[in-house]
Symmetry: C2
Subunit: 332 residues, 2 copies
C-alpha cells in the first residue's frame, strides 16, 4: 500500500485555491501554509481576537456524519466566538486528527470548508494533520477595533438583555441524536441545519460592537451563558419567560409530546445554540434595534440586568421558573 504523507494530504486537499488567502487577503497574511509558521500582518489600529474550539467524533458530532457538514459545523462554532467579540474574521488554522486516509471523506470535508471560507471570507493559513481518533480543532483569528470589543464583564444594572434568533432547535436535535434518532426526515430538516449548519452571527457582532455593553454566544445554553456575563460583570439578570423566542419546530415537536411550556426549558438550557445574547444601556436600545433591522437579524428583548448575582427566569405572575438543568456540562 502506498504510504501517504501529511504533505501530500495538505497539497491535495488543503493548500489549494478556494481555501487559502486570495491575493487581496495576502497583504494581511504574507505567509500561509507551507512554512514552520504562518505570518499575520495586523493593521496597526486593530487588535487580534483568537479563539480555539475542538470537536471530537461521537462527543460533538456523530462520527458517521457527512464530512462536509462536520467541516461547516466546526468552522461555524469557532466563527461564533469571533461574532461574540464583535470581530471581523481574518483567517483560521486547522488541526485534523484522522484514523485513516479516506479520499471521499477528505474531499467532502475540504468542500465543506471551502463553502464556509468563501461565505465568511476567512481563509485557511496553516495547521496540522495527524493520525488519531477523529477530531477537529480550529483556531479562528479576527480583527477588532480598539474600544469596540464585546466583552462578558461589562454589563451594568438597569441595562436590557436581548437575544438573536429563535432558540431550542439545536438542543432538540442533540437530544434526538442522543436517542439514536435520525435527522434526515423532511420534518426534521430545520433541526438538521440548526445542528450541522448553525449560522454564526458574524455581521450582527460587528454591527453591535460599540453599542452593546456585553455579549456572549450561547453555545453552553442561554441561562448558563448569561450566568457567565452575570458572574464576570458582578450583576444579576432577570428574564421574562413569555418573551423567550422559541423555534417553531421546537414548539410543534414539544407540543406534540405534551410539553405545556412547549420547549421553554430547552430554549433556556440547551447548548449548541450559536445565537448572541447581549446587554445594552436603555439609551442605546434604539440604535441597537436599528442596526439589527438593517442587517435583517431578529433580536428579542428578553430581560433586564439587575443588582445581584443570579440569572432567574420569571413567569407572567412574577414567579421564578424551576429550570431542569443549567446547560451543557462538559465532564458529567
Amino acid at each position: 500500500m502506498l504510504a501517504i504523507s501529511e504533505f501530500d494530504l495538505i497539497k491535495d486537499y488543503f493548500n489549494k485555491s478556494g481555501l487559502i488567502p486570495t491575493t487581496e487577503q495576502s497583504a494581511r497574511i504574507p505567509l500561509g501554509i507551507g512554512d514552520d509558521c504562518a505570518v499575520i500582518d495586523l493593521p496597526p489600529e486593530r487588535l487580534l481576537a483568537v479563539s480555539m474550539d475542538t470537536l471530537v467524533a461521537d462527543v460533538h458530532f456523530p462520527a458517521k456524519a457527512d464530512s462536509g457538514l462536520i467541516a461547516q459545523r466546526a468552522l461555524a462554532v469557532n466563527l461564533s466566538d469571533l461574532a461574540a467579540m464583535g470581530a471581523e474574521p481574518l483567517a483560521f488554522t486547522l488541526a485534523l486528527s484522522l484514523p485513516k486516509v479516506e479520499e471521499a471523506w477528505l474531499q467532502g470535508f475540504s468542500l465543506g470548508l471551502e463553502q464556509m471560507i468563501q461565505k465568511y471570507r476567512c481563509p485557511l493559513i496553516g495547521g496540522d494533520i495527524t493520525k488519531g481518533p477523529l477530531s477537529i480543532t480550529i483556531q479562528v483569528h479576527g480583527l477588532l477595533e480598539r474600544g469596540k470589543i464585546l466583552r462578558r464583564d461589562s454589563a451594568r444594572p438597569g441595562e436590557l438583555v436581548y437575544v438573536s434568533g429563535e432558540l431550542g432547535a439545536a438542543g432538540l436535535a442533540v437530544s434526538l441524536l442522543g436517542n439514536g434518532m435520525s435527522l434526515d426526515k423532511p420534518d426534521t430538516k430545520e433541526l438538521h441545519s440548526a445542528y450541522y449548519q448553525p449560522v454564526p452571527r458574524v455581521i450582527l457582532g460587528q454591527s453591535i460592537a460599540g453599542i452593546a455593553s456585553a455579549a456572549i454566544d450561547i453555545s453552553d445554553g442561554l441561562m448558563a451563558d448569561l450566568g457567565h456575563i452575570a458572574e464576570q460583570s458582578g450583576v444579576g439578570i432577570v428574564l421574562n419567560a413569555k418573551a423567550i423566542p422559541i423555534s417553531k419546530a421546537v414548539k410543534n415537536f414539544m407540543g406534540a409530546m405534551g410539553d405545556k411550556s412547549k420547549g421553554l426549558n430547552l430554549a433556556l438550557t440547551a447548548g449548541d445554540e450559536y445565537e448572541l445574547a447581549l446587554t445594552v444601556a436603555e439609551d442605546q436600545q434604539e440604535e441597537l434595534q436599528q442596526k439589527a433591522a438593517e442587517i435583517n437579524v431578529p433580536l428579542t428583548l428578553i430581560g433586564r440586568v439587575v443588582k445581584g448575582s443570579r440569572v432567574k427566569c420569571l413567569d407572567s405572575d412574577g414567579r421564578e421558573i424551576d429550570i431542569k438543568n443549567s446547560g451543557y456540562r462538559h465532564f458529567s
Copy 2:
C-alpha cells in the same frame, strides 16, 4: 458522582498565576482566558507568527507517560516552529481532550506547562477542554521583526548548510519506545530527555534571523526537512556524511549493536529532532558562527546548497549514501 464542568477545570488548573500573562505581558495580551476570544495587541512594527501542532496519545507519546513530560513535549515542539522562523514567543492556546478528569494527571500537566511558560516567557491565553481520546493541540504565537523572517523558500546555490546540536537521540528513543522498551534506565537518560524534553532553539532562531537565508526545524528528520527547503527554494543540497553531528549516546548504542556507520542513518532520517537546519551565504558565515558562540549553541557545517533539486549525502569518497527511509511519514 460530582459533575465537573470545563469551567471548573479551567479555573482550578489553567487560569492561575504562573500560567497566564503577567502584568508586564498583559499590555500585549489585553484579554486572556475567560471571554469568547483572547485578544492580542501586536506592536505596530512587528508581524505575528502562528503555528499549530497536535500530539495524540499512543501516536506522538505513550498514553501512560508522565503528564508533566507530555505537557513539556507538547509546548516544546510548538516553540520549535517559532524558533525556526526566528520569532520571539508571545503566548499560546491549548485544546486538551481528556477521556476523564484525573486530578493528579491535571496537576502534573499544569505544572509541566508552568515550567515551560516561565522558561520561555510564553503564557497561556485560551483554548478548549473537551471529553475525548487523550490529545493535545497547541497553537503558539510569536513576534517577528519585519525583514528578519527565517523562511524555507530563500536558500540559494553556493550557500552553506548548518545544523544545531547533535542528532539521533530522539529518533533512537522513538525506536526503542516503539519496541516496547522503557527509557527510565540510567543509561537511557539522555534519550529520555531528548524525547520528552526537546530544547526548542528559540534563542538561536532569534539570533540568526537576518543572517541565515533559510531555516527549518528538523522534526520530520534532517534529510526530509532539508528536502522541504530544497523544494521550496528550487535548489539541491549536498551533505557531507563525515560532518553530520551524531549524538554520543547514539554512537555508543549503535556501535554496540554492530552498526558500522554508528547511527548515521538515524541522524539523517529520524524525526522528532528539534534542532534547526539552516542555510547561509558564505560572507555571512563568520557572523553566524559568532552569534552561535555568543549564545553557546553548537552549530556544525554539514553541507552546501547547489543547483538541482535533490538532497544527497556523500561519503568521504564522494559517493552518494543510500538512505534507508526519508523521515517520518504521517500516514504510513
